[in-house]
Symmetry: C2
Subunit: 453 residues, 2 copies
């Protein structure tokens, strides 16, 4: 069946009705933000309504909310509510092979922290708040199958039947494998880059001890970095932690060689022995889940005339190593809303300005994230790296305005990513020059002292 939904073809709130494809965090945040600004919104989501459902274990369900994401939540007035349900993480605890843990603070003070939030709960909160607006219609179980750019129609599969809608304009927030992106770019001279990490990930739960206390320090991100693999954990309000096991898909010590109970135990004994007593149901959990892939994407253009625009993972998916995926997506939302507001109805200009303001920076984030993977795997355990990090933080404490470590700029400020990188490189050059000058002065002083004797 092919029919037209009367609400979407002209008529109601004729000049301001938008279709948002994808009801994840970015899509639902935009639905809310635009509704607050008087837009009519039709939000189409492939999955069923997540509200009232329990999220799948084994899928990515925790996020480290940082400054950029917080700013977007502030914009829609939900920051306090979300933070009340978050666990503050003051830093990382790095777990060595010998079972010892070392704390690395995220920043210089209590403002420079991350907040562990439940992705599903955050998503539900945003949908709930958006749904309160009469001008917002939430359409679940609508799978986009085709886009006709000529007639500007979207075709959805709904319970096996195809329906067409003709929205005035569209925001694509349908994730890394965005159907909107694919359909919009079909036949266009569009750039697209998609790369999978050789590692997969699997989420495991480290349950709270009896009484709801955490088995490890609650208010921190925990990392078990190994050269070959890694575990990262985010705390939950309940006292449990969500562990993410990152491991190669293939080869020696990989998901491919972790299929039987014995193999699982062998691998954990080899790499994460201190976790075995904490995870009594380790084997059961590992047997139940399949590893998922991690994709990094970049694309251009993000906008199509005055009709469609991409946000979040639909235009820039990143590996999870910098904890910036959702934060960057939320920042897209803030910038898009600001540009729409500034351009007062001239959507084509708003889209162009939005892409100009964001794309160069999310491309840099893509590179930073790849570098962060190497850092997390190896450098967190190197004494030189730790000393360098401490020096960076110490100068930051002394000169908070003039000197900011790269991680601080990415996580605790809204300095655009490419500017953060450029500033960090300048700082590195200053540090290098200072070291050389210091070394020369030391040699000079020694000589002076030696000759003076």
């Amino acid at each position: 069946m092919t029919r037209e939904q009367s609400t979407d073809v002209g008529g109601h709130a004729a000049n301001t009705r938008v279709a948002i494809v994808g009801g994840g965090p970015a899509g639902s945040l935009l639905a809310l933000a635009l509704a607050q600004r008087g837009y009519g919104v039709d939000l189409y989501e492939r999955r069923s309504d997540p509200r009232g459902q329990i999220a799948d274990r084994g899928k990515s369900i925790n996020l480290g909310l940082s400054k950029r994401g917080m700013q977007a939540l502030q914009m829609v007035g939900l920051l306090d509510r979300v933070l009340r349900r978050a666990v503050t993480m003051r830093g990382r605890i790095i777990h060595a092979m010998d079972g010892t843990g070392r704390f690395q603070p995220y920043g210089k003070d209590s403002a420079e922290v991350l907040h562990s939030v439940d992705r599903n709960e955050l998503n539900c909160t945003l949908l709930e708040e958006a749904g309160r607006y009469p001008s917002v219609k939430l359409h679940f179980e609508h799978q986009l199958v085709r886009v006709d750019k000529q007639s500007r129609e979207l075709e959805f599969n709904v319970s096996g039947q195809n329906i067409k809608v003709r929205p005035q304009w569209v925001i694509a927030a349908d994730g890394a494998f965005s159907t909107m992106r694919r359909e919009l770019q079909h036949g266009e001279r569009a750039d697209y880059h998609q790369e999978f990490h050789e590692w997969g990930y699997m989420e495991l739960t480290l349950d709270a001890a009896a009484g709801g206390t955490s088995k490890v320090e609650l208010r921190a991100l925990h990392v078990w970095p190994r050269r070959h693999c890694m575990i990262v954990s985010h705390p939950n309000l309940s006292g449990s932690h969500t562990l993410t096991l990152l491991l190669p898909f293939h080869g020696e010590d990989s998901f491919a060689t972790m299929r039987t109970p014995a193999e699982i135990e062998t691998l954990f004994t080899k790499y994460f022995p201190d976790l075995i007593p904490l995870l009594p149901d380790l084997v059961e959990q590992c047997m139940k889940h399949s590893p998922a892939g991690m994709v990094s994407t970049r694309t251009a253009p993000w906008a199509f005339a005055d009709w469609a625009v991409l946000v979040g993972d639909a235009c820039h998916a990143v590996y999870p190593f910098y904890g910036q995926g959702m934060n960057a997506a939320f920042e897209d939302c803030s910038v898009l809303v600001r540009e729409l507001n500034d351009c007062k109805g001239d959507r084509e200009t708003a889209f162009r300005r939005y892409e100009l303001a964001r794309r160069a920076h999310t491309d840099v984030l893509c590179d930073l994230t790849k570098a962060a993977c190497v850092e997390l795997r190896q450098k967190v355990r190197s004494p030189w790296f730790l000393a360098r990090k401490r020096l960076d933080l110490a100068i930051h404490r002394l000169l908070p305005q003039a000197w900011t470590p790269l991680y601080t700029m990415v996580a605790h400020t809204t300095i655009p990513y490419a500017e953060a990188l450029a500033r960090s490189r300048r700082q590195e050059r200053i540090l290098l020059c200072s070291s050389v000058v210091l070394a020369l002065l030391t040699v000079g002083a020694s000589l002076f002292y030696a000759l003076g004797r």
Copy 2:
């Protein structure tokens, strides 16, 4: 209608029947090579049979055949026949703004030359020869629409009707926007990179003078390099030349500002004044054609179990600046045929070895091609670059075994691309060190001479 073609589902030549998707040069070369080796072949091509048709003007119809492509034609016994219909190009003639031309030889001798061939004629020759084999079936106007990886079925649209075939195995030779690639990689952890050049291209014909003589030197590639745009021309046997105008799509002096007769004349007067008297129908030609885009792609994996494998543009499209697109595709064919032969029916191993032998090298070709664009635009006009090129060729003439310029290795040998690049970098280091030593010796000798006086 959905039916199964009886010839394709089991039965005939059961163990050796292959479907080739795409009947361009690579697909038709493979059809011929495999038929010669006893395979049954079904070749499916989206377009109609090109034999007996006249190719579209304005589409890329000339190729510079070099060593790698020649080797593949040798394999199928067609090299001599193709060369008889080719124009030998001994080097490039670089046309400066003042109308002067400067000849740069392609290599040290008459073996290091390129051959300008008509793409359509080459394609027809290959199809004709493949079609002589009773074991080869050519299916034109078959557009692949879907691939079912589970049931290993291909679905084609034929005159508006869908038919399914179930080949034993498949070679995807369906070009840069390969439907096979897209369908095979759907849902897989596959890498894919696609980038469009900011320039478009348009082909124009420089007709022969009365009597079939060429208006410019016939046996050379002609280049009109400008910082902002470029024309490259390939000679034809008839004495005409096919010019390729490369120009930005947008911005100042672009295809977007070359739409009226006056604009066309203004642009040619500004950048290619010496061509205006040679092209009396310039405006007419430009008005008739639309510019086409140039895409560069990379992907992985190339092989899917023992069932499907990608070749040519379907796995690595490159910009045309190195003249290696079809040569690299033909080299894929040689390597694939060799591995299939060596692995004696173990297709999975043959595919894996083929990908291992080729992918790293075509990835390097992709980078070399991007660098070649910069070189063609700018460096061909720099005296330093020309001097460096002459020195390179001079050493190559002195020590042909030990020293080979990069271009020579790419165009006139079958040294794998990545090895060619590594060797060229070593040569550059040697050249740099030698220059330093030479400079020091000169200074030393001058001092010796000065002190001795």
